[in-house]
């Protein structure tokens, strides 16, 4: 379908994007467009102004930042897959990015776009939550940093204010981590996804498609801290989660998948 009409403005800088966003209360940012354009074509959303930040090359990088890796928000999935710094220090990001959509989607889609979209089926959202990443956003008052735990507010809702632009994602260097997901067919969204990583000596676990937002499997983490085995800890995978039932799988099936995937992920760490 053809999207509804909109005004288009290409921002030459993050500040210009912030000021353009202030021009219209129904304005939306356009990065790679691979979450937004499909929704616009279905007319699930009809922004009146699109502020295109896709050409802000200054937001496309992966940098070593001491004990963290800083990833520019406009870094594309295909770049996450082949980035050597991430492969060395936070490999689960590239491994998960390699499973997003298909090559064409990975050539366009960006990490910042995926996170700012707030889709509970986003693989990268679960990973930044699991890693306790920090999200740097720029707004009219300058920069602020939002912990991942405070960023995902609800289904397709984030802590971003209307005039804020996500600019950078800071992830810790982790000695081991993994992301496992089950999808019904190629290029599908995760029926369930599980991220697990060792962060500052602790094992942290997150879940995709198990509720309205990405979730931490706190019950699993607590059990592990208490000395439980992978299988024992995995029994707590769906604790507190409210997995949806849909055409892909029932709530019970998702809870079962979460337990199996958590156990496998823990065995791999």
């Amino acid at each position: 379908m053809i999207p509804a009409g909109f005004e288009y403005a290409r921002a030459g800088s993050v500040d210009e994007a912030v000021s353009l966003l202030g021009r219209d209360e129904d304005a939306k940012l356009l990065a790679g467009g691979h979450s937004l354009i499909p929704l616009m074509r279905l007319r699930f959303t009809r922004p009146s102004l699109l502020v295109d930040i896709g050409r802000l090359e200054g937001l496309r990088y992966v940098r070593d930042d001491g004990d963290r890796i800083a990833v520019g928000a406009l870094t594309r999935h295909a770049e996450l897959v082949r980035d050597p710094l991430l492969a060395r220090h936070c490999a689960l990001i590239g491994e998960a990015a390699a499973t997003i959509g298909d090559p064409q989607v990975r050539h366009r889609g960006t990490i910042g776009g995926s996170l700012a979209h707030g889709d509970p089926a986003s693989d990268l959202a679960t990973i930044v939550l699991t890693l306790d990443a920090e999200l740097v956003v720029h707004g009219p008052g300058g920069d602020r940093t939002i912990p991942a735990a405070a960023f995902f507010a609800g289904m397709f809702e984030t802590a971003l204010a209307p005039q804020e632009v996500l600019t950078e994602i800071r992830v810790p260097k982790v000695p081991s981590g993994t992301y496992l997901k089950v999808e019904r067919r190629g290029q599908d969204w995760a029926t369930v996804g599980v991220a697990a990583a060792r962060v500052d000596g602790r094992v942290q676990v997150g879940l995709t498609s198990m509720g309205a937002t990405p979730l931490r499997a706190r019950g699993v983490e607590k059990a592990l801290a208490g000395g439980a085995s992978a299988a024992e800890a995995a029994a707590h995978a769906a604790e507190g989660a409210m997995p949806p039932s849909d055409v892909v799988g029932s709530s019970e099936y998702r809870a079962h998948l979460a337990e199996v995937l958590v156990r496998r992920a823990l065995e791999q760490l």
Binding site: I37, R41, D102, V105, G186
Partner: protein, 154 residues
């Protein structure tokens, strides 16, 4: 309307477009390049795959305004005169098509795949063409064609 200037198959193009015009319709309806097909219109099937600055993209999921200043290659831009591009030649020789509707998308996705992986394994070919669907279910010969094109140094 927004003025855009881009290079399509090596030729410079300048047009006024509505911002909501998708790249695939710009190519087909404005430029008359009907080799790029619209299949699912939901970013799934890959029939509309073109190269944007050398990388495969689904042109039903890119606005024409986003291609401003970029280089676009469609299936019409591959052959050199009467000489088919090695990927086209390989699809022809290996009979990698039945109805042919998905073929331009597969050919463009293959060109991009071989640029990133010049010597892909069968598994890498199947994963690399995950974004393209053939409903005649002719994948075996498509894989053979990609292998043949890789051997030919495409």
């Amino acid at each position: 309307m927004t003025r855009i200037a881009l290079t399509v198959n090596g030729s410079r193009v300048e047009e006024n477009v509505e911002p909501r015009q998708l790249l695939v319709y710009f190519l087909r309806d404005r430029l008359g390049l009907k080799g790029t097909n619209v299949g699912c219109d939901t970013s799934s099937c890959g029939a509309c795959t073109v190269l944007l600055d050398g990388e495969s993209v689904k042109s039903c999921t890119v606005f024409a305004v986003q291609a401003d200043g970029c280089e676009v290659t469609t299936v019409e831009g591959l052959a050199e005169g009467d000489e088919l591009h090695p990927v086209q030649q390989a699809f022809h020789e290996q009979h990698a098509l039945q109805c042919g509707y998905c073929t331009p998308g597969f050919v463009m996705a293959t060109v991009s795949l071989l640029k990133e992986h010049p010597d892909p394994s069968e598994e890498e070919i199947r994963a690399g063409l995950e974004g393209n669907l053939c409903r005649c279910t002719g994948y075996h010969n498509i894989v053979r064609a990609v292998q043949a094109a890789a051997r030919a140094g495409a």
